[in-house]
C-alpha cells in the first residue's frame, strides 16, 4: 500500500509541481493518473517510486517513509517497482535482450534463471523474435514494449508507467494497455499516467491533476459506497 499525506514537491528555483496531495493506492489496483502537460503527473510518479523526495509531507510505502529513508533503503525499495519511463530510457548500445537483462543484473540474477525471465518478458510484449536487435532499429511502439519488458522482468509487485502510450496510434496503444490489464488481473498494482483523457473504465481508480493540484480522486466502482 502507498499513502501520500499532504505531499508538496518543489523543484529548486521552480514553483510547486505538486501541492498538498493526499491519496492512497491499494495493492492490486490499476490507477490512471491524468492531467494536461505540466500538471505534475511525472512528478507524482517519481515521488511515488522514491526517485524524487517530497519537499514536505509524507509518502508511506510498506512502513517506510520515503521522505526520510536512507539511500540504501531507497535502492532496496526502488527494486520493487517496475518502471516504464516517459522517455523509455533504453540503452542504445545494447540489444533488446541486454536491455531487459539490466534490472536482473542489478538484482544479482544471472545465468539460466535470467535467460528464462528475459525470454518470458520479451514474449509477454511480443518481442521475442527481436531479442538480438538494437533498440534504435525498433519502431516507437516496439521500443515502448521493450521498456515494458524491462519493467516487468523482475516480477515487480508494482508497475509504474509514465505515458506508456505516448505517441502511439490507437491500435498500438490498445495492445499496450492490454498488457497492463493482464498484469492487474494477476494481482500486480499498476499505475499509468497519460495526458490524453481516454474514457477510463469505472472499474479503475482515476486520479486527475491540474497545476500540481489533485482535482479528482475517483475510486473504482467496487469500492464506492453502494
Amino acid at each position: 500500500m502507498i499513502r501520500f499525506d499532504q505531499v508538496y514537491k518543489r523543484y529548486p528555483g521552480y514553483q510547486e509541481a505538486l501541492q498538498n496531495i493526499s491519496l492512497e493506492i491499494l495493492p492490486g489496483e490499476l490507477v490512471f493518473v491524468t492531467g494536461p502537460s505540466g500538471a505534475g503527473k511525472s512528478t507524482l510518479l517519481k515521488v511515488l517510486s522514491s526517485i524524487e523526495k517530497p519537499s514536505s509531507g509524507t509518502v508511506i510505502f510498506e512502513n517506510f517513509n520515503l521522505a526520510q529513508a536512507k539511500d540504501n533503503t531507497l535502492n532496496r525499495i526502488r527494486k520493487k517497482f517496475g518502471m516504464v519511463f516517459q522517455d523509455h530510457k533504453l540503452l542504445y548500445d545494447r540489444n533488446c535482450y541486454e536491455n531487459v537483462a539490466l534490472p536482473l543484473a542489478v538484482n544479482n540474477i544471472f545465468g539460466q534463471e535470467a535467460e528464462k525471465r528475459i525470454r518470458a518478458a520479451l514474449d509477454k510484449v511480443g518481442l521475442l523474435n527481436k531479442e538480438r536487435m538494437m533498440p534504435i532499429t525498433l519502431s516507437g511502439g516496439e521500443q515502448q514494449r521493450l521498456a515494458i519488458a524491462r519493467a516487468i522482468v523482475c516480477r515487480p509487485s508494482i508497475i509504474i508507467a509514465d505515458e506508456p502510450t505516448g505517441n502511439l496510434d490507437k491500435g498500438y496503444a490498445n495492445d499496450i494497455m492490454n498488457i497492463f490489464f493482464s498484469f492487474q488481473q494477476v494481482g500486480v498494482t499498476v499505475i499509468i499516467s497519460t495526458h490524453e483523457l481516454p474514457n477510463i473504465p469505472m472499474r479503475f481508480k482515476h486520479i486527475h491533476l491540474e497545476n500540481g493540484q489533485l482535482k479528482l480522486n475517483q475510486q473504482p466502482y467496487d469500492q464506492l459506497p453502494a
Binding site: 532496496r76 526502488r78 518502471m83 530510457k89 548500445d93 539490466l102 542489478v106 544479482n108 544471472f110
Partner: protein, 302 residues
Amino acid sequence: MINYLLNHIEALKVALRRLFFAKAGSLVMFLIIGITTCLPMSALLFLENIKQASSQIEYSAEISIFLTNDYKDDDLKTFTSFLKEQPIVSKITFEKKEDAWVKLQKKIMIDGDSLIEKNPLPDSFYLSLATLDENEIDYLVKELKEFAIIDDVLLDSAWVNKLNSLLSLGELIINFLGILLLSVLAVIIGNTIRLQALSFKDEIEVSKLIGASNAFIRRPFLYTGIFYGIGGAIVAIAIIKLMIFIFNYYAYVIESILGFNISINDLLTTHYLTMIILTIVIGWLASYFSTNRTLSKVKNNS
C-alpha cells in the same frame, strides 16, 4: 557469495564489451599509458645497466701506500703479514723505490737526459681491493695509517664513490620521474574514464532509477580502469623488450669490432611486476574517483 562473484563476472564482461566497442580509443589509451610508463622504465633500464657495469670493475678500487724512507725490515714484515690478513685486499704488489725510479725515468726522459737527478720515490705497496664498499675501505685506510712505517696512503677509489653517488642521484631522479609520470597517468586515465562514464550517463541514470547501488554502477568502470592499466603495462613491456632486442642486435655487431661487451641486460621480473601492479592500481584509483564524480552529477540531475 556466488551472486557476488557472478556480479563481478558480469561487470568484467561489460567492461570488456566497452573496451572492444571502442577499439581505437582503447588502443590509444594502451599506447598513451604504455609510452608514459616506458619513460621511467627505460631510465631504470639505463641505470640498472650502469650499476651492473660498475660492479664488474670492482678490482679497479686501489690503494697506494708509500712507506717512510727509514723503516726497519721487521716492521715491513709485520706490515706485510697484516696486509695478507685483510679479506678485502685481493692483490698486493710491493715496489722497491729503485724499480719505481727506473720506470719513472723512462717516462720522463727527454732526449736521453733525466730532468731529475736524485730518486725522490719511496718504497710502495699497491693493493687491489675486492670490494667497493666505502665503509670497509675507509676502515682499512684508517687502520693502515696507524702503522709507523707508512708515510702516506692514497685511495684511488674516489671516482667509485662519485659514481656511486651519481647512481643514487639517478635513482632519486627516476623515483621522482616515476611519481610524476604516474600522476600524469592518473590524470589521463581519470579523465578518460570520466568522459566514458559521461557517455554512459544514460545507463548510469537508468541503473540508479531501478535501484542499483553506486558500487554496482562503479564496478564495470573500475574493471575498465584496471584493463587500461594492464593494456598499458603490456605495451610498455613490449616497447622495452623491443628496445633491448634492437640495441643488443646492433651491439652484437659492434662488439666484434670493439672487442668488448656493450650489450644491455633486461630488467628484473620484480621491476616488471612492480610496474604492472602500479599501473593497475593507478587505473583502479583513477576510475574510482572519476566515476564517483559522475555518479554525484547524475544524482543531482535526476
